[in-house]
Structure formats: structure tokens, C-alpha cells
């Protein structure tokens, strides 16, 4: 299994990334000190409730933050090249070529007016030194690879002629077209039915494994992460509150929010009488409490939690952002 510290240079390295929105009522901090690495061939899952900052993290990496948003600190490195300060033109060359993207709604990535084969071939031609004929034959190979049945007869179809699941397959083909180092997939299966979701997850996993592509998989579905990711980052109110190997975060979460989250998810296995309940809801950006943002919902808070923001520190196999772990005492969460 790929991990973040194999000694090899990570494909993606995000360091202390912060992002803010400048509004009339003041500056809202939407992302704070986000740091993580993704190794070659690794799938990093990013989970959290809606509004936690998952999509913004992905958007920041591909440089598509619009006004009034702006990066207010930190660095983003792609295979040793800093990419957060290279301007619009530099980023345009990276998007599609070195970072592929998959979104929840396949129609945001596909142009309804063009045949799918042409869209894929166009991406290949833009980024790679090949002939038109070569681009088309690569497009056909890609459609075959992502499991479009009878691709020779489908290559000239328009996006609306495909079902939702088939469209998402085309988007995956498009994302892979220029053989990127990294794919950012933001809720790629959320709009799909479960049986189709299972097909798409299996496909993404297989393709990234065989090609060695790294993936940042953003989803609110912990089950999808369990099945797909090597490591997972749990986000809450604009920060990573826990990050580590997927099995450790699921089985032995160290942050009280992560612990609550795991118990709140109904499982297909043994039936529990009562789900763990985290009271309240995630705060809005303009009402983030001082100290630990999770404190108003936390059942094990201590005095210090209201005063200062806890650092992200290693605890066992994962890292967590919680004052209970400041002095590395083993803290056993009462979950389940």
C-alpha cells in the first residue's frame, strides 16, 4: 500500500494552505493550515460534512478559486514544482494535462454540443504531441478502457445520448486522456445509484492502480472511502482534524469528531440499537467558535479547548488535532 512517507517525492504536497473570502462583513476563513501529501498511485480520501471545505481544497489545488476568494497562505507543490503562484496561464497548462478532474455532475465536464470522442481527442491534442488520427484512436482505446459497450459505435454520440453512469465513465476517460499525475474527484458517485456507484468506484480504483495515477477522492460517504482510499483526511470547519491510514481512522479514530462520525453511520453489518449522535451542527464560517471549532459539540472538551486551536499531532497510526492528544497519552474513545 502506498503511504505518504516512502522517501519518494510525493506527487502532491499541500503545505499550510489557507483560503479566505473577503466580504463586506469581514474576512471569512474557509480553509486553515491544510497540509497533506499524496504519493504516487495513492488514493487520499477527503471526508467531512457539507461546508467542511472539501471542495474548496480541491478547487484551490487546481487554481480555480474565484473572487472574492483568495489563497491567504501556504504552498501547493506538484511533483516538486510549486503551482500556487504560477498565474493563470501556468495553471491552465497544468489543468487537464497534469491534474485531471471529475465532478459530481458529469455534465459540468462535458460539452453538450460536441461528440464525446471529439472532446476526448481534443483534450489529447491540446496536451500531447500526437496526430489527429492518433488522438482519435487513443480516445477509442480510452472509451474501451472505461467500459463503454460497443465504443466504436458510441464514440460519435453526444453526451445526452448516454445514461448517468455511462456519462461518468466518459468523464473518467476525459480526465485520464492526457495521462495526468493526479486526479481530483469531487463526489464522483454521489449522483449515481448504488449499483452504478459500485461500478464507477471499481473502475476508478482499477485504472489508478494500473496507471499509477494518484487520486484525491472527495466525498461525504465514508463507505466509499473505506472501499477506495489508502489514507483519509477528515475535515471539520475548514481544517483537517484527523489524517491517517484508512483502516486506522475508521477503526480507531482519535479525534472526538471522527469518533462520533464513525458511530453515526448506520452499517450493513451488525445492527446497533442506537446510532452515536453528535449534537448540534457544524458552525457556519461567520460563527466559528474560538479555540477548537468542535468544542460546542464535543462531549469530552477540557478547559483549554475554548482558548486555543489544537495542533495536528501524531497519535498512534494517525494524526489528530485535539488537545486530548497534546501530551501523547493514549486516549481511548468510547465509541460504538
Amino acid at each position: 500500500m502506498a503511504t505518504g512517507d516512502t522517501g519518494m517525492e510525493p506527487v502532491l504536497s499541500v503545505r499550510n494552505l489557507s483560503l479566505e473570502f473577503v466580504t463586506r462583513r469581514g474576512v471569512l476563513r474557509a480553509l486553515n493550515e491544510i497540509s497533506f501529501d499524496i504519493a504516487r498511485g495513492e488514493v487520499l480520501g477527503v471526508v467531512g460534512e457539507s461546508g467542511a471545505g472539501k471542495s474548496l481544497t480541491g478547487t484551490a489545488i487546481i487554481g480555480l478559486i474565484d473572487k472574492p476568494g483568495r489563497l491567504s497562505g501556504g504552498e501547493i507543490w506538484l511533483k516538486g514544482q510549486r503551482i500556487d503562484n504560477i498565474g493563470h496561464d501556468g495553471l491552465r497548462k497544468i489543468r487537464g494535462r497534469r491534474i485531471g478532474m471529475i465532478f459530481q455532475d458529469p455534465l459540468t465536464s462535458l460539452n453538450p454540443l460536441f461528440r464525446v470522442g471529439d472532446q476526448i481527442a481534443e483534450t489529447i491534442l491540446t496536451h500531447m504531441p500526437v496526430s489527429k488520427a492518433e488522438a482519435r484512436s487513443r480516445a477509442l482505446a480510452l472509451l474501451t478502457e472505461v467500459g463503454i459497450p460497443a465504443p466504436e459505435s458510441r464514440i460519435d454520440a453526444y453526451p445526452h445520448e448516454f445514461s448517468g453512469g455511462m456519462r461518468q465513465r466518459v468523464v473518467i476517460a476525459l480526465a485520464l486522456a492526457a495521462e495526468p499525475d493526479l486526479i481530483i474527484a469531487d463526489e464522483p458517485t454521489t449522483a449515481l445509484d448504488v449499483s452504478v456507484q459500485a461500478q464507477i468506484i471499481t473502475l476508478l480504483k482499477r485504472l489508478c492502480r494500473t496507471r499509477g495515477t494518484s487520486v484525491m477522492l472527495i466525498t461525504h460517504d465514508m463507505g466509499v472511502i473505506a472501499e477506495t482510499a489508502d489514507r483519509v483526511a477528515v475535515m471539520y470547519a475548514g481544517r483537517i482534524v484527523e489524517i491517517g491510514p484508512v483502516a486506522d481512522v475508521i477503526r480507531h479514530p482519535r479525534h472526538p469528531y471522527a469518533t462520533g462520525l464513525m458511530g453515526a453511520i448506520p452499517a450493513l453489518g451488525a445492527k446497533v440499537q442506537r446510532l452515536t449522535q453528535i449534537s448540534g451542527a457544524m458552525p457556519r464560517l461567520n460563527a466559528i467558535p474560538a479555540g477548537c471549532a468542535f468544542r460546542p459539540r464535543c462531549t469530552v472538551a477540557i478547559g483549554k479547548c475554548a482558548e486555543a486551536i489544537p495542533p495536528l499531532v501524531p497519535v498512534g497510526a494517525t494524526s489528530a488535532r485535539c488537545w486530548l492528544h497534546e501530551t501523547p497519552v493514549e486516549w481511548s474513545a468510547s465509541h460504538g
Binding site: 460534512e49 457539507s50 445514461s163 448517468g164 453512469g165 455511462m166 445509484d193 448504488v194 449499483s195 452504478v196 456507484q197 459500485a198 461500478q199 468506484i201 471499481t202 480504483k205 461525504h220 460517504d221 465514508m222 463507505g223 466509499v224 473505506a226 472501499e227 477506495t228 484508512v246 483502516a247 475508521i250 462520533g260 462520525l261 464513525m262 458511530g263 453515526a264 453511520i265 448506520p266 452499517a267 450493513l268 453489518g269 445492527k271 446497533v272 442506537r274 446510532l275 452515536t276 449522535q277 453528535i278 449534537s279 451542527a281 457544524m282
Partner: protein, 325 residues
Amino acid sequence: MAEPVLRVENVRRLFDVSKPWLERVISREKPQFLRAVDEVSFEIRPGETFALVGESGSGKSTVAKMVVGLLPPSAGAVHFSASMGGAKVRPGAIQMIFQDPYASLNPRWRIRDIIAEPMEALNHPADPAAREARVADLLTLVGLSPLDGEKYPHQFSGGQRQRVAIARALSSEPQFLVCDEPTSALDVSVQAQILNLMRDLQERLGLTYLFISHNLAVVRHMAHRIGVMYLGRLVEVQETEALFAAPRHPYTRLLIDAVPDLEQIGRDRVPVQGEVPSPINPPSGCTFHPRCPLAMEICRREVPAFDGSVACHAANDRAVSPSLA
């Protein structure tokens, strides 16, 4: 055993999806009907949670709407027990909770007026002071504060709005609640709050639920019995634990295998191919046959009859082998 609260008998619902009349006449096309629901029968016992689960377009919401009377069935019937008023169901005895707690609450009304609305409509209780007191009780019951009655929907989070929707549904003292994807729009930590609340309320008030969801894990947590729908038909009905231990219909097996599960870290699998076909032009015989690993010759020709538990030519008296998918 107690008399069922609800008996749904062989309901069918067609929707006219023809092109506009003139266009149709010019191109000489016949009118076209979509069978959203066909030959669906089930019963719900008092105090029970009966769940309908299935993928998008399988007909769950259409069944729900026929049960609450928002849509008349094209054939078949929906019967309520005498305790619910039989043919003349007591007004307010059935209420519905929807997926989107924002769309279902009038944004310009205060929470107290939203919750009191069913009481106003029924003029019960007749005394405004009694209504006011009941609104406060209901807010407390669903875990909000009586002071929240003064606020407007936009001042609440999604989970709190769903609590308001539940309080509103409870204000007419219903016995039967139809819940159509009540937590699908919510985050998991908030979903857990609402699911726990719904179970507590059922226990305290003796409510009966028809619970609709596409999420098998949620359904497993909530339901006593589960009905699985595919392309408008009920393909299997079983007690919850039996359904998961020994699903009898190949589609149920497929669904259970498809759900990504927290406990199966890093699982690799071979998912069943294909997608749900269009309900406008469904496959012949058993509509699941193009995707079914057990399909036989007869499956292409004959619709398997629903025997009260399963509708499958191959499932006569054995459970579908768990190693199937």
C-alpha cells in the same frame, strides 16, 4: 396478530408520457404510458416500520403518494384499518415528511405558524391558547426550544428544519407517518440525530411508519420489514434480519453487495453490470433479466408472480446463494 393498519392491494400507477397531441397525430404515434408502479401489494402492522428501498425511479415515491392520497392509483386499492377510520380516514391521521426540509417549509412563515398549520386546518384543538401550548410541547418533543417558534426556516440548519417538519407532521396527532427519504439531504452526524428521534417518537407515540430510502444501511437500521422495489415492482418483502441474512431475490443480493460498507476496508469486487433500464420501454418478462446472473429462458417471457415474499422464477423455495455476485 394485530390487524394491519394499511393494506396496499395490487396498486398500479400509469403516467401519460405521450408527446403533445398534435405532434402525435402528425407522426401517427400511439399515446405512451409509463408504468411507475405495477402490482404492488403489502401490509403494514400497527407500530411497525415498513421500508421501501430501491434505486432511483423504482417507484417508491409514487407508492408513498398513493398511500397518502396525493395520487390516485390507476388500478388496485389502498385500505386503512377501522382504527384509522377505514374508508373515511380521520383527517390528520396520516402525515408525510419529505426529503428536502427546506422546500417543505414556507420560508415566510414563523416556525410556530408552520407547526400550527395542520391544527388550524383541522380546527383542533379549537382553542388558540391550547394550540400555542401544543406548539411549544412539539418543539420540545423534537429537541428544539419553545423559543425557536419565533424564528423563520432560514435561521435553522438542515437537521433543525427536518425537526420542524417532524413537529409539524405530529401536530395533527397522526398514527401513521409516510417518510420519503427524510434524511437523504442531511449530513451523517445530523442524520443520526433524526433517525434516533424518529425511533424515540415511534416508541413514545406508538407511530407506524412507511419509511422510504435508497440507502440500505439506513433502512436496515430503521425497519422491521423491508420491501425491495425494481422498475415499479415489489421484488421481495422480508423481515429485516432475514432479508440481509438470506436475500431471496437476485436484485436484493446485488443491492446488498453494492453498498460500500465501513467494515469492508479496501474491498475489491466484481459489480453487477448494467443500469436500471428505462421504465417507458421495460424489458419483457422479469424486468431484471438483462442484468440477472441467474436468468433462464422463462425469465424473458413470463413476469414472475409475487408470492408475498419474492417475485423470481429461480427463487422457489431457496435463498439465493450469497456467493452469487
